[in-house]
Symmetry: C2
Subunit: 422 residues, 2 copies
């Protein structure tokens, strides 16, 4: 990265500091890392007024720049939200430490003992948008898993993030860990984000968190290995034998319980031989909750209130109270449709046919495949991970909800007493 350093004086030194800090974290005990997290929670509570004051400056700038109410709300911190952040950090401290877990091991015929052990990645880079809670959340997850972290937040949250990183660094120092284990590169601006994506050898893994645009940019430009947390064009297939009550309640839950998140259903497919039996009750229930139904002609013949679906609708992640509905002639057609349009996040089949359930589970290639359950269950919290780094839709390293384990790598420990290879 000599070019980078010429263009951005001080940038490489900051990454070097992160790497040096990662050595200290890698040998810190679980107790030391947990005490750092408790110190972070204490410092958050003790300096809440400073954080809120810094956040107020970001909110003022945001209003001047015409941010929408929704964006301002995501940016805003108040006493209640800071307390929630502190509590979340304490919750992360209480989780099982992934570092040191022995994944597998054996004694070779010659007496050499090998074991594969979980170790921190080293330095984790995170690029995210104007949500200051992510700053605390990801720093806590990184520290718990023994990683140093380099943060690049959205410029709209710059004052909030500076305040939060400062108090996290104070907390680290208070327990004898290096301040540089958590650093921001926001002061390098957009060029810093670009340089972070080029920092192969300095940063071990890069995690983008935010919009599909942000994630696609990082995936396309990064030379550092990326863990992609992806979008969800999520499908439910109502098979011929689907129980009506399950169809109605699962589709309703998957669409309306929290429509703005990635595991909410966006497309419902129904078997032609069940369409007349199921669609009226399924769609009436959705409409009663304010859902707009976009549907193909066969659906509209049964349920005329629907809006005609456009070609784009089938590939759209609405993240709103909209759903696309279509009739298919067979399980094969449903699987074919899902292969074409799915983002490989989560798909569920509602059925009472064991053979069809198994075929769906085996043949649909998504991070989570379900039978007779709401797609909203694809979630680190629901899966019992205690914390969620994101939901990976890629197949390398992590797939589906990512917990602390997914923030670790492994190393092989080999113990001999003089063995050589014959």
């Amino acid at each position: 990265m000599p070019e980078t350093d010429a263009a951005l004086p001080g940038f490489e030194a900051r990454l070097e500091d992160a790497r040096t800090a990662s050595f200290a974290l890698a040998v810190a005990t679980t107790a030391q890392r947990n005490s750092a997290l408790h110190a972070v929670a204490d410092h958050l509570r003790g300096a809440a007024h400073e954080v809120i004051a810094a956040n107020a400056r970001d909110l003022d700038t945001g209003r001047e720049n015409g941010l929408t109410d929704g964006l301002l709300d995501r940016l805003a911190l108040d006493g209640r939200r800071v307390e929630a952040l502190a509590a979340a950090v304490e919750q992360i401290a209480s989780l099982t430490d992934p570092v040191g877990e022995v994944v597998r091991g054996s004694t070779l015929p010659n007496g050499v003992r090998i074991s594969q052990v979980r170790v921190p990645f080293g330095v984790v880079g995170v690029i995210y948008e104007a949500r200051p809670n992510v700053t605390v959340d990801i720093a806590a997850l990184a520290l718990k898993s023994g990683n140093a972290v380099v943060l690049r937040g959205g410029s709209a949250a710059e004052n909030s993030n500076r305040a939060l990183v400062g108090l996290i660094q104070d907390a680290l120092q208070s327990v004898g860990l290096p301040r540089t284990a958590v650093q921001t590169i926001d002061d390098f601006g957009r060029a810093g984000a670009t340089a972070l994506m080029q920092a192969r050898g300095f940063v071990d893994v890069l995690i983008p968190r935010g919009s599909a645009d942000l994630i696609n940019t990082v995936v396309a430009e990064s030379k550092v290995p990326v863990i992609e947390t992806g979008a969800g064009v999520v499908h439910i297939f109502l098979d011929e034998s689907a129980a009506q009550e399950w169809a109605v309640e699962i589709v309703h839950n998957a669409k309306t319980q929290r429509p703005s998140v990635c595991n909410t259903v966006e497309t419902v497919l129904v078997h032609a031989d069940a369409a007349e039996r199921l669609l009226p009750s399924v769609l009436d229930r959705l409409a009663a909750s304010g859902v707009t139904v976009h549907a193909d002609e066969r659906t509209r013949a049964i349920w005329p209130d629907a809006t005609p679906a456009t070609d784009e609708d089938w590939g759209t992640e609405y993240m709103s109270l909209d759903v696309t509905v279509g009739v298919v002639d067979s399980l094969d057609d449903a699987i074919g449709h899902i292969r074409r349009y799915s983002t490989k996040h989560t798909e569920s089949i509602i059925t009472n046919d064991l053979g069809n359930a198994e075929r769906f589970l085996n043949e649909v290639d998504s991070a989570a495949v379900m039978v007779n359950a709401s797609t909203r269950f694809t979630d680190g919290g629901e899966f019992g991970f205690g914390a969620e780094v994101g939901i990976s839709t890629q197949k390398l390293h992590a797939r589906g909800p990512m917990g602390l384990t997914e923030l670790t790598s492994t190393k092989w420990i080999v113990r001999g007493d003089g063995q050589v290879r014959g």
Copy 2:
């Protein structure tokens, strides 16, 4: 990839065929995939003369183009080598199938059952150089793990690879699996390799096999997730308390048993307080086997036959009968040196000091860290994997020797009976 398809008519269709074939492989049973491998072995034996004839054309072209004897030897196939390939395929067939392994699972409080199960990646891309044995090896590993594979071999082996891929496809067809599960894109030339690196969404993982240059190019240019199999600037540290016999025998084995591979030692560091005791016997033994010793001044003061080490020597992967030797004042200095120059492949400490052994294992951040053992043990065969895809020096997904398991991803299977999220 519409641009790619305009530039390379037929390329995208071939990747689509691979994806379609991957669906068939993903649902094929272990027995079906094993029978495909046995058919490949049979076809290799039955068509050995055709393969050797195609290979002879590549060798003729290679001689005309002035390939070195070493490269010609790596390219050459004869009856014995074809038989060895067939036997290797049968050996891969005999390994445990990684597909379907349940990694973890639980029943959630609401009765939903979740399990994380190993599944094939889907389509694996491989870019490699002029070694036709890699064509068979990687195709067999991919088929065993349920993956379709798209191969881009070196142009110098084009005739050999076409013959080998053709007979593998015949073998697939003979057991009712799609021919397109194993395909070459060699006919698209260099542009095909570039397009393969851009084929995100069509190819699930890309594995470069070959020189450091090839690997660096793929890592830098690929938009598809890459598993990097890397170079090894491998270190052995002779601690103050190292047993002399172990020091002599382990260094000798690690340097001379097979100097051209990545797990051979390239740098030996010795503690200052053990240098006079250990260096003469360690270096005499190396020199007797024809090793050229490049050394720092402190080493040369003890063993004057050494060549002065240059700055570049410390970071060089010789892959030959050369070694760099230096004296350090402490374990900390040894770890610091390794952090600076290691490629994070394998490092070993020779010591009788338990505390130093544990510090070395914990603080050296390499894929394999060893105490009192030869670095030559970092190997899928030695580790008992039965087959080796390569040795990963990255931290994402796989680290160290990669077996069949590392050619799989996972998916979450979720089984409910009507549960919705509260």
